[in-house]
């Protein structure tokens, strides 16, 4: 006998004799242990003993009912004959039991019995080997419990749970399940992935202690309160920031929906969320853009007004309100209307605006609250073609228009002066020609006079105020004839001359200087000229009195002929100007006393 077939002391199972009595005495009904016999008859659990040859040795009532075959029809018959629907797996089990000599089960066995033909049923079975004295497996003691309904219910539940999980995992949103106390019992794949932590760190924890929420006391407390309210039966929804893997933040549109049972008790809370990070960022970007635009609009030096299709001003920036001289409250009351503000025509009726959506830049007048017209350059654009709402931009042109007008005036004045100047040049040329001098003398006299005009002109145009300084004028006209100015005395207060006075006095000084250089004090090495001035004592006028005095020159003789130069000296200051001229040919030197309108900047 090989030892492997012997029953070892630690073998789990029954001694055949203890459950069945000895089998070594054929023909004698084996005695069955009294206790086991009682158990067999009273148990509601199916019990049987099947021999190694697959014949039923003993069967209790409960099993007989399960099989749908009376007890007596089992005994001594083979399993395949009594319950063919389970004989194949039963045979396989017996072979396994004989081979391993170890108990098997409990396990589920599926099959069909005559009790319910055609119905697949499930039994939970435990098979225990029964040994003979040599330790050989001779039979199997089997416990059978019908579990068909229980298994079906379990399977259904499992399938349902799987289905729920599949649904949760499939949705783009985050979803899960909470016990009423806030414990997370389930979360979909997506939600898990966003956290990026092991499942066991999420499921089974209080929801607010999970990765998504526990980064901030505020979000954790808020969630705890929200769950408490959901437990009370309330559905909640709010936008909130959560933590996601990589310690990033995401915005979610979060909701908690309580589930109630038939009695109205909240047995579960379904948390769900949609990732709105992109939307939130877009919103924030939009808000920033709007804020930025707002700042620009508020500070723009361009008037901006938004008007309805009927021309009612709906919105406007401060610049526009300033341009029309209206307070902001006029805007709120809806009292501002384009037709009152645009005397040139209301843009809301502009065809170009309706047709093209824009109105090209054009000149447009605005009416200020004071009635004043504000010239502007204006552009408009349609905002909503359906309602006709449009925006109009106004650039104040008041200054530009004034500047343009001023420029035009200056240009006209310049034109006028140039023509006048040419007229004077013509007059000088003709008058000089009339003197009958020879050609060289004519050219020299004419160019001297033209230079005198040019010097006066230089002084006038050198300053912005168009006035000439008397001292500069004297120096400019006389110094060229004084041999460097050594014999000149020029003295007097600061005096300014209008262009007309400066032109006229310039020519007079030129004539006096050329005469002095030809015949007078500046023609000799010893002569000198003093030119002094002071404010003239003439009430009601502002004039300067200038004294031209020649000394130590050759003896003076009055000119024999009144030439153009003399006439020029005599008439320039009196004709058309309020000035005066007195000239004396004293034997010791020419003396000229002149007055011209002037201003005294130093008082």
């Amino acid at each position: 006998m090989d030892t492997a077939r012997k029953k070892k002391p630690d073998k789990k199972g029954w001694e055949f004799s203890s459950v069945y009595g000895a089998v070594d005495s054929p023909g004698r009904a084996p005695s069955f242990g009294a206790e086991i016999g009682a158990l067999y008859s009273s148990s509601s659990v199916g019990l049987c003993l099947i021999g190694r040859d697959m014949t039923f040795i003993r069967v209790n009532e409960a099993l007989a009912r399960m099989n749908g075959v009376p007890i007596e029809d089992h005994i001594g018959r083979r399993v395949c004959d009594v319950v063919p629907g389970v004989s194949r797996p039963a045979g396989a089990l017996m072979r396994r039991l004989v081979g391993s000599q170890e108990p098997v089960g409990p396990f589920d066995l599926e099959g069909e019995t005559p009790a319910q033909p055609g119905v697949e049923r499930i039994w939970s079975q435990s098979w225990t080997p029964v040994f003979d004295a040599e330790g050989e497996v001779v039979a199997a003691s089997i416990i059978v419990i019908e579990v068909t309904e229980a298994r079906r219910a379990e399977r259904l539940l499992a399938e349902r749970a799987e289905e729920v999980r599949r649904i949760l995992d499939g949705v783009v949103a985050f979803a899960g399940r909470l016990a009423p106390d806030g414990t997370l019992t389930e979360a979909n794949e997506r939600a898990m992935l966003t956290a990026g932590v092991p499942r066991e760190e999420l499921v089974g924890r209080k929801f607010w202690d999970c990765f998504w929420w526990n980064w901030s006391k505020e979000s954790r407390d808020r969630l705890r309160q929200a769950v408490a309210r959901a437990r009370g039966g309330e559905s909640l929804r709010y936008d909130v920031e959560i933590r996601i893997s990589g310690d990033q933040r995401a915005f979610i549109d979060f909701s908690l929906v309580p589930q109630r049972d038939a009695e109205g008790q909240v047995y579960e809370i379904i948390p769900s969320a949609v990732d709105i990070t992109d939307r939130k960022h877009a919103e924030e970007k939009l808000q920033r853009t709007v804020a930025r635009l707002g700042t620009i609009l508020a500070n723009a030096q361009i008037g901006i007004a938004i008007a309805s299709g009927e021309g009612r001003i709906l919105e406007a920036n401060q610049m526009f309100l300033d341009m029309i001289g209206q307070p902001r409250k006029a805007l709120r009351s809806g009292a501002l209307h384009a037709k009152d503000l645009l005397p040139g025509g209301d843009l809301s009726r502009s065809e170009a605006l309706r047709r093209d959506g824009v109105v090209e830049t054009s000149e447009m007048d605005l009416r200020h609250a004071s009635g004043r017209i504000v010239p502007t350059l204006s552009t408009a654009a349609m905002l909503d073609a359906k309602t006709g709402e449009h925006v109009t931009f106004f650039v104040d042109q008041t200054r530009q228009r004034a500047d343009a007008e001023h420029r035009e005036l200056l240009l006209l004045e310049l034109k006028h002066r140039v023509k006048n100047m040419l007229g004077m040049v013509q007059a000088i040329a003709k008058q000089t020609a009339r003197s009958g001098q020879d050609r060289d003398a004519f050219v020299s006299t004419l160019s001297g006079r033209l230079h005198a005009m040019a010097r006066a002109h230089d002084l006038i145009t050198a300053r912005d105020n168009g006035k000439a300084c008397l001292r500069d004028l004297i120096r400019a006209q006389v110094e060229p004839y004084s041999g460097g100015g050594a014999r000149l005395e020029v003295d007097g207060p600061g005096v300014q001359l209008e262009p007309e006075s400066a032109n006229a006095l310039g020519l007079v000084l030129h004539e006096l200087a050329t005469n002095a250089a030809k015949y007078g004090a500046l023609s000799s090495a010893t002569g000198s000229v003093s030119i002094t001035w002071r404010r003239a004592e003439r009430p009601g006028t502002s004039q300067v009195a200038i004294e031209w005095t020649e000394r130590d020159g050759p003896p003076v003789t009055p000119p024999a002929r009144r030439g153009f130069g003399t006439m020029l000296i005599e008439t320039s200051l009196t004709h058309g100007l309020e000035g005066s001229m007195k000239m004396a040919h004293d034997p010791t030197g020419v003396v000229a006393l002149m007055t011209v309108p002037a201003s005294f900047p130093n008082g």
């Binding site: 040419l422 008058q431 009339r434 020029l568 004709h575 058309g576």
Partner: protein
């Protein structure tokens, strides 16, 4: 008849006034003036009106518009001399001939002669 034709010259620019005086005298006109201001011109005219008046459009800081109107009202034809163009003239004086500076002597003489038939 040439002796009796008189012209009033009103020009505030002395040089030009002297030139006008010389030019018109040489052309055979009897010159009254030249006057540098409107009031001086009216003084010179007194009761004896000239046949024609040659007025600088700009006198000092003002114009010779009123002087022109006074003379026209007394049937004295007027010619303006100006560095400005005719757009500077008020409506009622638009028909007055206006000669630009620098002055074209021949044109001036012809214009005056046309206004005062010999």
């Amino acid at each position: 008849m040439a002796d009796t034709r008189s012209v009033l010259i009103v020009e505030d620019e002395a040089l030009i006034a002297l030139d006008l005086e010389a030019t018109l005298s040489e052309a055979g006109w009897s010159v009254i003036g030249p006057a540098g201001t409107g009031s001086r011109a009216l003084e010179l005219v007194g009761d004896g009106l000239p046949h024609v008046a040659c007025l600088d459009l700009n006198l000092g800081n003002g114009t010779s518009h009123d002087l022109a109107r006074t003379l026209i009202a007394r049937d004295v034809p007027v010619v303006f001399i100006s560095g400005r163009d005719s757009r500077a003239l008020p409506e009622d004086l638009r028909s007055v001939p206006i000669l630009g500076k620098p002055i074209d002597d021949a044109l001036l003489c012809r214009t005056l002669a046309d206004l005062v038939p010999a």
